[in-house]
């Protein structure tokens, strides 16, 4: 396989504080790879080091085989970067904004005109071509920033929280856009807090906490390694008595860790088994005469995994004890 991006032992220290503590990643080409982690986990620092905005304290990173530390000028030609927070210039029009960055990448006048037209069409801002950038809504500015990252047709896109501040429709459009870009052969590294969307979009993820990669690889592989159960929510047909009877039945089942009857007579069931065990549990419950109208996980798989992997173990050694799934994502 081909690696579009690879890091080894990437470290960033600010004085005695270690923001990133030896991140190892390997991402294949034409993949959408998610960086998942709580606030302050080191996602943004990692992306900024890959974007050549920050210099790593230790370790190495290569994008398309080019050393990020020693050949940043070359790396800047193959990456498109969209930071978490960004500003816009006052008194500059949308097309001028893109024209400026295209010019910075050395595109000639004719190529710039063509690229601007194509990108405005891609991010659906053609109607705003002559509008001033500061007059755009937050969502439009996000899309414009994404367009700026594409002016030079980069191989790798580094997107830090690209969906923050977007409404649901804009997020859905962004997902479609990213899929389209992947189909065009781009490798996309994306960090986000909206885990269900990442789960739907990404071919692989890295779960980062306190500067370390706790798990990395395809979501299914991480799930197989780390899944320790999940929380299901069930709606029982009938009144409260039916719900309590179902709860009593479930409590006696070996896979069930806990059962709670919620205020609306729905059940929240903690299970310590995989999908197959959960399916068998549902079958046995319904076979016992309990009528279940719905039975679904409270959180998405990725959210569940994230919460489990990043949960403190209490002995203060959680990070050290967890093994990491190594390997590429494709």
């Amino acid at each position: 396989m081909t690696a579009a991006l690879r890091t080894r032992g990437l470290v960033k220290r600010y004085g005695s504080f270690e923001a990133v503590s030896g991140v190892d990643l390997e991402i294949g080409s034409a993949q959408i790879f998610g960086l998942v982690g709580p606030n302050g986990a080191g996602k943004t620092t990692t992306i900024r080091m890959l974007a050549t905005s920050l210099t790593p304290t230790e370790g190495e990173a290569h994008i398309c085989g080019v050393d990020v530390v020693h050949e940043p000028d070359v790396v800047r030609q193959v990456i498109g970067y969209m930071p978490d927070t960004f500003g816009v210039y006052d008194d500059i029009r949308v097309w001028e904004y893109l024209d400026f960055y295209a010019h910075c990448h050395g595109l000639g006048p004719a190529a710039r005109r063509r690229v601007i037209t194509d990108l405005l069409d891609l991010v659906d801002l053609t109607a705003k071509r002559d509008a001033y950038v500061q007059s755009l809504s937050r969502g439009m500015q996000q899309r414009l920033c994404l367009a700026h990252a594409l002016v030079h047709d980069p191989q790798v896109l580094l997107l830090d929280e690209p969906a923050s501040g977007l409404d649901p429709r804009a997020r859905a459009e962004l997902r479609e856009l990213l899929r389209e870009l992947r189909a065009m052969g781009k490798t996309i590294v994306i960090s986000s807090h909206i885990l269900p969307e990442l789960e739907e979009l990404c071919t692989g993820v890295a779960i980062i906490d306190r500067g370390r990669v706790l798990a990395s690889g395809p979501i299914e592989a991480i799930e197989a390694r780390f899944r320790r159960g999940s929380v299901m929510r069930a709606k029982v047909v009938g009144d409260g008595a039916a719900a309590r009877a179902a709860a009593a039945f479930l409590t006696a089942e070996p896979e069930v860790v806990s059962v709670e009857v919620l205020a609306d007579d729905r059940l929240e069931i903690g299970v310590s088994t995989d999908d197959e065990g959960t399916s068998a549990l549902l079958f046995r419950t319904m076979s016992a005469g309990h009528r279940i109208a719905s039975f679904a996980p409270v959180a998405s798989d990725l959210e569940e995994l994230f919460l489990q992997i990043t949960a403190p173990t209490g002995d203060g050694s959680s990070d050290e004890d967890r093994s990491t799934i190594e390997g590429p994502t494709s």
Binding site: A3, G28, S53, G65, H70, Q155
Partner: protein, 344 residues
Amino acid sequence: MTAEALPVPVRRRSRVRTLWVTIRAVLTRELRWRMRGRRAFAIATVFVLLLGLLVFGVHQVLYESALQSARDRFGEQADPMVAGAISGHAAVRIGQAIFGTLLATLTVLVLMIAPALTSGAVSSERERQTMELLVTTPISTLGMLIAKLIGSLAYVLLLILASVPLMSLVFAFGGVSPDDVVRAYLMVLAVAFGVGAIGLFLSTLIGRTQVATVVSYIIVFVLIVGSFALHSWMYLTSVDQQDRGNVRPHAPEMILWLNPVVADIDILCTAFPDVRGTCGYTEQILGLDRGVDTPRDAFWPRSAAAFVVLGCVLTVLATQLVSPSRRWRRRRPRVLAEASPADP
């Protein structure tokens, strides 16, 4: 699992081309941003009007003075036209006064405006959070700073350019040669570059526009008043140390090289050697007294060169402050172990 490196379809542009592309790109955006709308041209118009009023005022004062002198000589009935004609020297004095006034005004303008314009050139990018987008494009840091310096000073250059028609009035009165005017503009441009570079450097060093602006003004003040005070002190101290001997008092001239006021005085006083008074006094105090045969182009070219060198040094130093990831480092490309030329 091993991995191959993806073939990289990148063009390694020459540094000169990157520098040129960067200057064009950043300067275009700076000019679009700064010159958009009517504000820039409205201010230029107001500036020219005020400068015109000032020149008119100087002319009127000196003309009335010359007319009074003629009346004193020839009586109250003296014809103004005759009075003007009899005193070609008075016309020369008017021309020289307008020249001096314009040079002083342009110098003050540059000292007041240039630091304010350039001290936000880089820090405003940080404050607006646009810097990260900029430093992750393959632009030349030096090119970006040169373009920002030119773009920021474009306004000052516009105002300086707007003063040229008024300056050309001095030729109507005489007493000022075209090369004097060239000297004056060269000095003003050199001061604009040097002082602008001070603002640019502080903008990259401090990162906050307001603080950078204040510090820039303090440095400009120190350059003018501080260098004069230091030079005067050394000059006067050297007199004491001579123990009333025959050795003339002396202080190093280079202390004053970055003092634009002294450079202006040098241009004016060497251009009009017959106008003594203030010139003689200043030349003596500043150690520029070169007697009756004061050599032209002795001090101000050194001063202009000092401003240009200062500007160049500060601009180059500023490249190291724009972003930690853009500091000079030895190029040592490491190629992935697996990415040998034999790889497909």
